[in-house]
């Protein structure tokens, strides 16, 4: 017999806290850029499922401004319609009917599946928010705005947001402006190093979209997209092929590219940064957006199940896996869209091929050590080829270097300490005051040997 009712009502403040917890500030901004790019593809009518020669996003622009006082992102990617705003753009999550409707309208091949990206981002960033949209339809140009004062909204009973008449933007698109920034956000946005890091990440993670011509500016300066190239020629040829997934036929398409993006290092000095540009390793893209970048960890497979663990010797290797599907739930991406779900069936299906290709590279770098001069001569002659121009090739071609069994030479490992000032002065004498100590040691030994002992 029912004697009462235990309330199960969610509280807004709890909800806001929970959805903003598991995402970084940088990833929030990337979520908003994703929305802009989704809008651009929608305007174009379709999104390529592979690296497409003719895709063109050059008429679209995203302008981001960050400062200790405010944040804004504005695009010309078509805007949010009033119907979209009323029905799902501002909901927390998407119900099944909405998902079905979106699929029917070919709002597919996006990356957002949980319907949470924009809300999570704006609540994470600040407390005074205004979303403006301008869009066109058969009836003309329309503009609206949705102002959100977070503290006030939290206290209200309703979950809805008011849509008001708005002043049109210059072009159809969306603008999100946020002030009264949350604690920590203000300090980060006012920090030049944060801006530099954000710029680097945008350049890397949207490399494909930059290839298609999209323009993204950050604080007035254009972001220069990373120009992805592989080296080819002299026995080097990158791998490019579609990986069949019989269990997901017609639902998920996978394209894989890998090869040498730069010659491997001659030797790795522990004092040197392993990968100064942080661009080598495996990348995984879902519907065109890199969700895993320059990965050298177990996440992409390094150091697991027959894979070697990453070592600086493998610098120069670049692997790209492109997953595309109209059904985003099948893609191996987490809710933050900044990581992959390694248990995802489609990802696990591709990993063996990734492993085989990786091992071909690691094997080459091992064999190369014994034939360094020959290898370098070939590597130096290989030429960069743009991503779009890479031909289909079902094998990763690397020069066949013989495994030379060098007679074992007895070596002595010379280690000693010297006053730092002397080491720096010696580096300076060799032309680089900041020369790694290992190099100073070798050069000083070679110099002394030449002058005191003579040629070998």
């Amino acid at each position: 017999m029912k004697i009462g009712t235990a309330s199960g009502k969610p509280t807004k403040s709890f909800f806001v806290r929970m959805i903003t917890r598991d995402i970084t500030l940088q990833d929030c901004i990337l979520d908003l850029i994703d929305n802009s790019i989704d809008g651009a593809w929608e305007q174009e009518g379709s999104r390529p499922t592979t690296i497409e020669q003719n895709a063109d996003l050059s008429s679209y622009a995203v302008d981001i401004k960050i400062s200790s006082q405010a944040f804004s992102i504005r695009d010309n990617c078509g805007g949010i319609t009033q119907r979209e705003a009323e029905n799902y753009a501002f909901t927390f999550g998407r119900d099944d009917d909405t998902v079905e409707m979106l699929e029917e309208q070919h709002e597919d091949f996006s990356i957002g599946v949980y319907g949470i990206g924009m809300k999570r981002a704006i609540f994470k960033i600040g407390r005074n928010i205004k979303v403006r949209s301008t869009y066109e339809d058969q009836e003309g140009t329309h503009a609206f705005e949705v102002p959100i004062e977070v503290e006030k909204w939290i206290k209200e009973k309703k979950w809805d947001f008011d849509i008001l008449n708005g002043k049109p933007l210059k072009e159809p698109g969306t603008e999100i402006a946020i002030s009264d920034l949350n604690g920590g956000v203000s300090a980060s946005f006012g920090n030049k190093a944060f801006e530099n890091r954000l710029r680097k990440i945008i350049a890397r993670d949207y490399a494909l979209h930059f290839l298609y011509g999209i323009r993204i500016t950050l604080n007035g300066r254009p972001v220069r997209g990373w120009n992805i190239t592989f080296l080819a020629g002299e026995g080097f040829e990158p791998f490019r092929d579609t990986i069949p997934l019989p269990d997901f036929e017609d639902e998920v398409r996978v394209e894989l590219l890998c090869g040498m993006a730069a010659p491997p290092p001659d030797e790795i000095d522990p004092e040197e940064t392993i990968d100064e540009e942080d661009r080598f390793g495996w990348y995984v893209a879902c519907n065109g957006r890199f969700v895993l970048s320059a990965d050298k960890t177990a996440m992409s497979g390094w150091g697991t199940e027959g894979w070697p663990g990453w070592h600086g010797q493998y610098n120069g290797f670049l692997g790209l896996v492109f997953f595309s599907s109209p059904n985003t739930e099948l893609l191996p991406v987490t809710t933050t869209k900044r990581n992959i779900d390694p248990t995802s069936p489609v990802f696990r299906a591709v990993q063996p091929r990734m492993r085989e290709l990786t091992k071909e590279w690691t094997s080459y770098t091992n064999v190369r050590k014994a034939q360094l001069e020959k290898a370098k001569a070939l590597e130096d002659k290989a030429k960069p080829v743009d991503l779009k121009a890479i031909m289909q090739s079902q094998s990763l071609n690397l020069p066949k270097l013989e495994r030379v069994q060098k007679p074992k030479e007895l070596v002595a490992n010379i280690l000693y300490n010297v006053p730092l000032a002397q080491a720096l002065a010696m580096g300076e004498a060799f032309g680089n005051r900041m020369m790694p100590y290992k190099h100073i040691g070798k050069k000083t030994f070679e110099y002394c040997y030449k002058h005191l002992v003579g040629k070998r």
Partner: protein, 313 residues
């Protein structure tokens, strides 16, 4: 060879001007923040020039000088200017953490000026990071380091070398000139960004306020940068001071003070202050001559220009 064996720290007009600009600014901060019991700390060497200023001009009672060289330490103890000046033997990277743990120093603001003779290298970055993370609230922190190009390798490797040390604090897409003629400015801006980034990553409640940026040249170009680590409640007051017209600790131009005789400096000073630029003709009419840049520099910094005298014994 320790630098005090070949550099008399009480000379160097540009360094003197830089020091006075910094102390003028620190005095302004002392009017706005609770800094009465601030400790002054740094590398006094055997001359203690800034220690004199800290005690007599700013009224800071206690000070700490750190000396790594054994002979330098003995001479520093001999030459220490005041009874409340403590001399500590060792590298700053070892001494500062110890002092910050002591009851006498851990709860009061510091004015810490680490005046390195050398370039911004990895151990400097580590020490800066430590200080930003651990100095008590309301502390003022300055560093001085070499802005000379060849200290960072030849121009083709400088960016790589600096990126290893400064990481994201160094802007992307810098032109070659940023690592050549404009290197001191690149270093100044990047070092400040490095400091701010450290404070931001730690979420220091009051953050870090960039306040000092002075590039000067006597025999060599040096860079001084620094700021304030305010308590949360002091940030607004500190910001107001730093952004005021009176603030002298920030200069986008390089300080290159001319070496003038007492007579030359006095005659020029008699013409100042004034709105109109001193012309070379005026100088020639006085009976001597100077370059235009020397005139400009003196007119800008005459209030801080040092007069050196040699006393024959």
């Amino acid at each position: 060879m320790p630098s005090f064996d070949h550099v008399n720290y009480s000379l160097r007009p540009s360094k003197t001007i830089e020091r006075l600009l910094a102390f003028d600014s620190i005095r302004l901060l002392m009017n706005a923040l609770p800094l009465e019991n601030m400790l002054y700390a740094g590398f006094g060497s055997i001359w203690f020039v800034d220690f004199h200023l800290a005690h007599k001009t700013l009224g800071l009672r206690d000070s700490v000088s750190i000396e790594a060289d054994a002979i330098g330490y003995a001479r520093a103890k001999f030459n220490k200017p005041f009874s409340t000046c403590g001399i500590y033997h060792g590298f700053s990277s070892a001494v500062i953490p110890k002092l910050l743990k002591s009851a006498a120093y851990k709860h009061r603001p510091w004015c810490l000026w680490l005046d390195y003779d050398y370039e911004f290298r990895k151990d400097v970055a580590d020490e800066v990071r430590f200080c930003i993370e651990n100095l008590p609230e309301n502390s003022i922190f300055l560093i001085t380091f070499s802005g000379k190009g060849d200290r960072y390798g030849n121009p083709t490797v400088r960016e790589r070398n600096l990126r290893r040390i400064l990481g994201d604090a160094l802007d992307e897409d810098l032109e070659l000139v940023s690592f050549d003629e404009e290197l001191p400015h690149t270093l100044a801006d990047s070092a400040l960004t490095f400091m701010e980034d450290t404070a931001t990553n730690l979420l220091r409640p009051g953050g870090f306020l960039e306040a000092f940026r002075l590039i000067y040249t006597d025999t060599s170009t040096m860079v001084t940068v620094g700021g304030v680590l305010p308590a949360k409640g002091s940030r607004v007051a500190a910001e107001a001071i730093i952004n005021s017209d009176e603030w002298a600790g920030w200069d986008d131009e390089e300080i290159q003070a001319p070496l003038l005789t007492w007579m030359e400096a006095s005659r020029l000073q008699q013409l100042l202050p004034r709105e109109k630029r001193i012309t070379k003709k005026e100088i020639r009419d006085m009976g001597f001559n100077l370059r235009a840049d020397q005139l400009k520099s003196f007119a800008k910094y005459y209030r801080y220009y040092p007069y050196f005298a040699q006393i024959a014994s």
